[in-house]
């Protein structure tokens, strides 16, 4: 745990953890609203949003990308809504049409445009490159107090930290209306809560999380960050506050364990090359979900809970 760790692992570890936290927060509400696949759709359409923003501004400016991805998310949600209303198509299928088509457009644009100067390529977009976000200027733990070295931190760290903070504030400030709109939309509306705007706000928060996590884990594995920790947390408790707390714990655990297993696991097994950290984080979060599905105290569906309590 010396200088090597600070240079090579500290920043990716932090980015992975923050990304997992930023995704798990909106993920909890999406899961409870049965909109888990909105997270899926958003993480796919982030790609065309980022590519179009890049083609317009020809830079990898974070604000432009954030705007592009946010716009793409809103366009996607509007298209899904429009198609399912106009054609009276089931929303799941409408979603399948929209996000695959937009993702295909993004991939094609990316393949056809010259993005070799910036690290924006298809493989990167699919599963990120957490390992490349190293802190070259660091010399050891002392660098944490050295302003010159701190200036050399990868910009992705500040971006994801800001996104995680923003999403945490969003969740904290809107906790009560979000909870109400999630569990009883009709009641929330009767209370004067603008549920449609709130739903859109949730989509935008998820889009922000997806963009910020894009560098680290790409647009497919981020789905695991949205769904797995909240789903595992749902197996542990019936209370929303506890569920969010559990999900944050699981998110941090998956990120840290995944990163450590990816970086050091092969070495322990006698190999000498690390494997994909993003992939390993998703795998660990899946393993946690699998364990909670098997042994979590609240794993059964609500109906069977009622049945079993009626029997006793």
């Amino acid at each position: 745990m010396g200088a090597d760790f600070v240079v090579l692992s500290l920043v990716p570890l932090l980015i992975g953890t923050l990304a997992a936290v930023a995704c798990a927060l909106p993920g909890n509400f999406l899961l409870l609203r049965r909109q888990a696949l909105i997270g899926d759709a958003i993480s796919h359409v982030v790609l065309p949003g980022i590519v179009v923003a890049f083609l317009i501004t020809s830079s990898v400016n974070s604000w432009a990308m954030l705007l592009g991805a946010g716009a793409a998310a809103i366009v996607a949600v509007a298209l899904i809504e429009g198609i399912s209303r106009l054609g009276r198509i089931e929303p799941g299928a409408a979603m399948g049409v929209v996000f695959t088509a937009m993702f295909a457009g993004g991939v094609l644009l990316l393949e056809m445009s010259d993005t070799s100067a910036v690290h924006l390529d298809v493989e990167h977009a699919l599963y990120g490159n957490l390992e490349s976000l190293i802190w070259i200027e660091a010399t050891g733990w002392a660098s944490l107090t050295d302003p010159e070295a701190l200036a050399g931190l990868p910009p992705e760290l500040a971006r994801i930290a800001l996104a995680a903070l923003g999403i945490a504030i969003f969740t904290w400030v809107l906790w009560r209306p979000l909870a109400m709109a999630t569990f009883d939309e009709g009641f929330a509306q009767a209370q004067g809560i603008p549920t449609v705007a709130l739903g859109l706000g949730l989509v935008i928060a998820a889009a922000v999380a997806a963009v910020a996590a894009f560098d680290a884990v790409g647009s497919i594995i981020v789905i695991a960050m949205f769904i797995c920790p909240p789903a595992a947390a749902r197996m542990m408790t019936d209370r929303l506050g506890h569920q969010v707390a559990w999900s944050l714990g699981f998110a941090v655990l998956s990120a840290v364990m995944g990163y450590v297993l990816a970086g050091y696991g092969p070495i322990w097994l006698g190999g000498n090359d690390a494997v994909s950290a993003a992939g390993m984080i998703a795998t660990v979060s899946g393993a946690i979900l699998g364990l909670t599905c098997l042994y979590g105290p609240k794993r059964r569906s609500d109906v069977s809970n009622i049945n079993s309590s009626a029997k006793h």
Binding site: L31, R34, A36, L37, D40, I83, L86, G87, I89, E90, G92, A93, A94, M95, G96, V97, T100, A101, F103, A104, G105, V107, L108, E111, M112, V122, L126, Y127, I220, I221, V222, I223, A224, F226, I227, C228, A231, R234, M235, P266, G271, D273, A274, V275, S276, A278, G279, M280, I281, A282, T283, S285, G286, L289, C293, K298, R299, R300, S301, D302
Partner: protein, 401 residues
């Protein structure tokens, strides 16, 4: 170059690939229709992403036994096994835990994909793995495809299509009317399993051409496009097959006509273009049809209300109504009725009076429920019934200027 590709002049391999993609598209479109009607469309997204770890493991196993890791048949077998496992996981999670199917789909697709990426990075560190080219399975790559691979795809596509044709009757019935299918003694679970198995087969065959990330589009988009054109499930299956086949064929041809154009995204974008066209121009459900219906309705309402206004002997001031009436020669530009206008107005007034009378009569209760202020009563009641109403109403009133 595109023309050559579309007319099979780009060589044996490109032709085989285009044909294979077309066959694949037809079977994907048809299979997707059954999935769509059973509301299971996105389950196939989990299946397709779940193929990746199987591909990686198959490669590692084949290399470990001293074979060529790139053998397509072996890779596809591995992908089928892990995709089946993914499907079981989705079903187990949504049946045995409190999580919904949507969460199960999302969790399975992302976790299996992540595990697959881990395996891909393992393979990259193997001596024989550097040139493996397994990344081609992500988004589809037909460039530099071996003849044997193209054959596997063409034969696989044909086999899937044959299975669709073979099972079309029970699957159509289960998709269209599950209750009736059960009453007919069919095993719904087994049919669903067959449908999912077919979707799995299409996914596996499509891996090399479309890639595992986008193959789900070929199962969903043609079916949704076909939905716009027809309400009949048998026609929908055929139409979806046509859309899927066209997408596969045209997309593969475009991709073959220029280097560095990925096949999968192109096929999906062709399918999306067909969908966009369906959304716009399909009769009945299409946007254009809805727009025309709306304009026509608005026109009818304004004409009718304008005539009723003329019948009161009042001039027309509203612009749109006035334009409609003058164009039809029923009113003068100053809003006063012409001779023809007075006659039409009298007819409209008579029609309203007949409707009002019909609504009071119990014998016409069913018919009078159809009153919407636009429908002429002659389209609802017979001449005899109208004559009877007229007898009660007395002689028609004239409209005077």
């Amino acid at each position: 170059m595109l023309f050559e590709a579309l007319t099979f002049q780009l060589g044996y391999n490109a032709t085989l690939v285009a044909l294979g993609a077309a066959l694949l598209g037809i079977s994907a479109g048809a299979t997707g229709t059954f999935l769509f009607l059973r509301k299971r469309a996105l389950v196939s997204d989990a299946i397709s992403h779940a193929t990746l770890p199987g591909i990686g493991l198959a490669f590692i196993v084949m290399v470990a036994f001293g074979g060529d890791g790139r053998n397509l048949a072996g890779l596809l077998l591995g992908s089928a096994l892990s995709a089946g496992l993914g499907l079981l996981a989705v079903q187990w999670i949504s049946a045995r835990t409190r999580l919904g199917e949507d969460a199960a789909i999302g969790a399975v697709l992302s976790v299996f994909f992540g595990a697959g990426i881990v395996l891909l990075t393992v393979i990259q560190t193997m001596d024989s793995g550097r040139q493996a080219g397994l990344e081609g399975f992500l988004l589809g790559a037909t460039a530099g495809m071996l003849l044997s691979d193209a054959l596997v795809i063409a034969i696989g596509g044909a086999a899937a299509l044959a299975l669709v044709v073979l099972f079309r009757r029970p699957m159509t019935l289960a998709a269209f009317d599950p209750g009736y299918a059960v009453a007919q003694g069919m095993n719904l679970q087994r049919i669903d399993l067959a449908t999912m198995g077919l979707a799995l087969g299409v996914t596996i065959i499509g891996l090399k051409v479309v890639g595992l990330i986008l193959i789900v589009a070929l199962l969903i988009i043609p079916a949704v496009s076909a939905r716009f054109w027809t309400d009949r499930s048998d026609r929908m299956v055929v139409l979806a097959g046509v859309f899927g086949g066209l997408s596969g064929y045209v997309g593969a041809a475009i991709s073959a006509s220029a280097p560095a154009l990925p096949t999968g995204p192109l096929i999906v974008l062709v399918a999306a273009a067909l969908f966009g066209a369906s959304l716009l121009i399909a009769p009945g459900r299409g946007v254009l049809a809805a727009l025309i219906r709306h304009v026509g309705y608005r026109r009818q309402v304004h004409l009718r209300q304008g005539l009723l206004t003329l019948a009161q002997g009042l001039p027309i001031y509203e612009n749109y109504t006035l334009r409609l009436l003058t164009r039809a020669g029923l009113a003068r530009p100053d809003g006063v009725a012409t001779e023809a206008g007075r006659a039409e107005a009298a007819k409209a007034l008579r029609d309203e009076a007949r409707w009002a009378m019909a609504r009071q009569l119990q014998a016409h209760e069913a018919a009078s429920a159809l009153y919407d202020g636009l429908r002429p009563i002659a389209t609802v009641l017979t001449a005899d019934e109208i004559a009877e109403i007229d007898a009660r109403l007395g002689p028609p009133k004239q409209v005077t200027a």
